[in-house]
Symmetry: C2
Subunit: 434 residues, 2 copies
C-alpha cells in the first residue's frame, strides 16, 4: 500500500480532541494512518513515497452532501423564480421524463466535476438510471450513497418494476467501487407514494438490510395534503408505515412540530437540511437549532442544481450558520464550528458513514480537501474555522482526495475529463430542450 505524507499544513480535523493544529498527516492506502503537530517523525519521512507541502493550505474532511439529484445539473438555470407547481409540472417533469441513461450519466458527471472542484467528497444521490450514476461514482473516485427514487402513484405493474429495479440496483451496487458506494431504498415522498407501496419499500429495505431515504415535510402544502389524505402529518404517517424501523434519513423536514422533532430524535431519524433549495422554492426555513438541541443528526444538502443552482456546499455551510441566527433572533445559534460539522461529521453520520468519513483521524478513510489560505479573505489570521465558514467558498479548494486517491490537483480534475463533460452536458441539454 502506498504511503505518503503531508507536512507543514494546518488541519481542521473536526475531531474534538484535537480540532485544529499545524503539523503533518500520513496516509496509507485508502486510510489516514497517523497525524500530529509540528514536524513529521523520521520514520514517516522515510516511509513516504511522496510528500505534499502543506504551506498555505488548510486541510479538512471532504464535505458531505446529504441530498441531491445529480443528473438535474442538466437543468441549471432552465427555470427559476417560478411558483412550485408551475416549476415542477410545466418545466422539471416534462424535461426529466425525456432523460435517457446517457443524460443521467452526463448530468451526473457534470455534478461530480462541480462537487470535486468545490470540495465535496461524499454525496447522496436520489434519481433514476442509477447504474449510470454508479458508473460516474466509480470513475470519479467520489464516495456516494445512491438510491433509486421511486414515485409510487403509478399503475401496479410500473410500481412493481420500479421496486424490482431498486432491489436489483441495490444487489449489484451496494458496496461497489471498492466500498465507496452504499445504497439506500427510497420511496420519493409520502405525497407521491401510496401507503402500501411505502410499506413494500420498507420490507425490501429490511430484507436487504439497507437504510431508507425520502423527502418529508418540505412544503406546508404537502403536510396539509397528508392530513387530508391520511389523517396525520408526514412524520406520524411514515412512523405508522414502519419507515423509522430502519435507519432513515429524511430530506428537508422544514415544517415540523415540537412533537415531530421529539419523534425524529426518539426514532434516531437523520435530517438533510437544504437551506438554499428551501429558500429558492419558498418552502421555508427548517427548525435546525431545535433539531440539533433535540439530538437529531442533521446534515446539509444542496438538493438539485435546478433549485440551488450550484453544488458548492460551502454555501450551505455558511447559510446554515447565517440563516438560523436571523430567523431565531439569536446570533449565538449554529456557530462556525457547528456549521462545519453539519457539512462534514454530522453529514457522514446522517449517511450511515460515521467512522469512515467526515473527520480527520487515524483509521478514517482518507477523504479530505486542501483549501488555499493565501488569499485576502483569509487575512488576518484570527480564526481559520471562522474564515472557512464565513469567508471562504468552494473556489478556494485547491486539492481533493477521496479514499486516499487524489481527485483534484491545483484546481484540475484528475479522474474526470472536464472539457468533455461540459461539451456533452451542453449537447444533452440542447437535445432535451428539442
Amino acid at each position: 500500500m502506498k504511503r505518503w505524507l503531508i507536512t507543514n499544513g494546518y488541519f481542521a480535523t473536526m475531531d474534538d480532541t484535537r480540532p485544529l493544529f499545524k503539523g503533518w498527516m500520513a496516509v496509507e492506502g485508502s486510510r489516514i494512518a497517523d497525524m500530529g503537530e509540528g514536524e513529521a517523525p523520521a520514520e514517516w519521512l522515510e516511509a513516504a513515497a511522496e510528500t505534499v507541502d502543506g504551506q498555505d493550505l488548510l486541510f479538512l474532511p471532504g464535505l458531505v452532501n446529504t441530498h441531491g439529484h445529480a443528473a438535474m445539473s442538466l437543468l441549471r438555470g432552465y427555470a427559476d423564480d417560478l411558483a412550485l407547481q408551475d416549476w415542477l409540472q410545466n418545466h422539471m417533469w416534462p424535461m426529466e421524463a425525456k432523460f435517457t441513461g446517457d443524460d443521467v450519466y452526463w448530468g451526473s458527471a457534470l455534478a461530480a466535476a462541480e462537487m470535486i472542484k468545490t470540495g465535496t467528497t461524499t454525496f447522496l444521490d436520489m434519481y433514476d438510471h442509477m447504474h449510470r450514476v454508479g458508473e460516474v461514482v466509480d470513475q470519479s473516485g467520489l464516495r456516494a450513497v445512491l438510491t433509486r427514487g421511486m414515485i409510487g402513484m403509478v399503475p401496479e405493474d410500473v410500481q412493481k418494476a420500479k421496486l424490482q429495479d431498486a432491489v436489483t440496483f441495490a444487489r449489484e451496487w451496494h458496496g461497489a467501487a471498492d466500498g465507496r458506494i452504499t445504497v439506500m431504498m427510497c420511496p420519493h415522498a409520502p405525497y407521491t407514494c401510496p401507503p402500501d407501496f411505502i410499506v413494500k419499500v420498507v420490507e425490501a429495505a429490511h430484507e436487504l438490510n439497507l437504510s431508507l431515504h425520502t423527502h418529508m415535510s418540505e412544503t406546508r402544502f404537502e403536510v396539509e395534503q397528508n392530513v387530508r389524505d391520511y389523517g396525520v402529518r408526514p412524520p406520524e404517517h411514515l412512523d405508522r408505515l414502519g419507515f423509522f424501523s430502519r435507519p432513515a434519513l429524511v430530506a428537508h423536514a422544514v415544517h415540523l412540530t415540537d412533537e415531530e422533532i421529539a419523534l425524529l430524535a426518539e426514532r434516531n431519524v437523520a435530517v438533510s437540511h437544504n437551506p438554499v433549495s428551501n429558500l429558492k422554492l419558498a418552502s421555508g426555513v427548517a427548525r435546525v437549532p431545535e433539531l440539533l438541541a433535540a439530538g437529531v443528526t442533521v446534515g446539509l444538502g444542496t438538493d438539485s442544481v435546478a433549485s440551488n443552482n450550484n453544488l458548492d456546499l460551502f454555501e450551505e455551510i455558511r447559510l446554515a450558520a447565517l440563516l438560523h441566527k436571523g430567523v431565531t433572533g439569536d446570533p449565538t445559534v449554529i456557530p462556525a464550528a457547528e456549521a462545519l460539522r453539519l457539512g462534514t461529521t454530522y453529514g457522514a453520520r446522517a449517511l450511515g458513514l460515521e467512522g469512515q468519513t467526515g473527520i480527520l483521524k487515524p483509521g478514517m478513510k482518507a477523504d479530505f480537501i486542501a483549501v488555499s489560505t493565501a488569499q485576502t479573505h483569509f487575512v488576518p489570521r484570527t480564526d481559520l474555522i471562522s474564515h472557512l465558514v464565513y469567508a471562504a467558498s468552494g473556489s478556494d479548494v485547491k486539492h481533493v482526495w477521496a479514499d486516499g486517491r487524489q481527485l483534484l490537483r491545483g484546481g484540475e480534475l484528475l479522474t474526470l475529463d472536464e472539457e468533455r463533460i461540459r461539451y456533452e452536458a451542453q449537447a444533452c441539454f440542447e437535445r432535451l430542450r428539442g
Copy 2:
C-alpha cells in the same frame, strides 16, 4: 483619449432596452463610447489602441456596495457568533478605539483588494480617518462614496471637532480622484446621536450640498429605545429632524411598518439592504419586496467584514434573491434580474451615481467587470443572468475596469500590491490585539 475595444463577448448591460447580447463595446477615456451586437464596426476596429477578446467572458456593470466600513477588514474572524452587545462592547469597540490612521489605511486597502478581486467597482464607506480611505480609493482606482461616521453621544467639544473633521474632509475630498470620490454627511445612527447633533449635521449637508447617510432601524432593540427616548420610531424621528430634506440613504432598515415604507417612498429615501450582516447579527430580515413595490430605491451592502465576513457582493445578490422567497413564501419575488439590479443599477441610484455607473451603455462611466463563463457551474448555457445570480461568485471575476482603467487582469491586481497589503494588514491586527 485612449480608445479600446472588447469584441466577441456577452454583455449583461442592465439596460432594459438591450439587456443581454453578444457583441462588442468601445471605451474612450473613462467612458463607454459605443456598443452593439455582432462584429465590431470597421471604424472602431481601426481606432482601437487595444482589443480585448471577450471569448468565454460575460461583461456586466461593476458591482456597487452601498454600505460598509472597509477598515474593519482588520477584524475579520476576530469575534463571531456572539450576542450583539457583547460583540460591540467587548470586542469591536475596544479594538476600533485603538485604530490609527495607518490601521485605517491598511484595513481599507485590504478591503479594496478584496472588492476589486470579487467585482465591486463602487463602494460606500463610513468610518473615521477618512482621508486615509480617500488615499486608498485614489490609489486603487475604485469609485467610492466616503463619509465620516459620527457618533454624537460625546462631550460638546468632541462633537464639534467631529463635525468640523467631517466638513473639512468633505471640502477636500468631494469630487477628488478625478471625480471618482463623492462625499456624504453621516451621523452614525439615531441611537448614537442626540437630536440636536443630527440637526447640525443636516444643516452642514445643506450648506455643502451633500447627501446624508446613517444607520436606521437595524435592530428591534434600537427601534424600541427610540420610542422610549423620543416618543417615535426612527423614521419619523429622522423625518422630524429634517434628515429627509436632503437626498438620503439609510442602511439596514430591517424593522419597518407599512407607514414607514410609505414615508421612505414619499421622501425618496434610498435603503441599503445588508442581508448577510442582518442575518449574522440576528437583526432580522428587511422587507425588501415591500420596499421595492413601494418604489423605494434599494441597493445592497456587505456592511463590514466583522459581520459578514467577506466583501463578495455576489453573495448579497444571491442571498437577496433567495432569502425573501423563503421568508415571504413566494418563489417569484426578487427574480434573478432584479437581484442583479439591486447589486448594480439600483445601488448606483442609491448612492446618487445614477447616470454614471451601474449600467452599461454609451456615455456611462466605464465601470465594468468580466466573469469567466468557461466553468462547470455555467453549464448548460440556459440563462446567463440566472447563472450570475444563483451559480456564480466573486471568484469567477477575471477582469475589472473602473473609470476606463483596468484594475484586475486575469485575477491579478494592477493598482494595489496584494502581498504587501496582506502582510501589513496582518501586522496591524497583531499590534491591535496587543
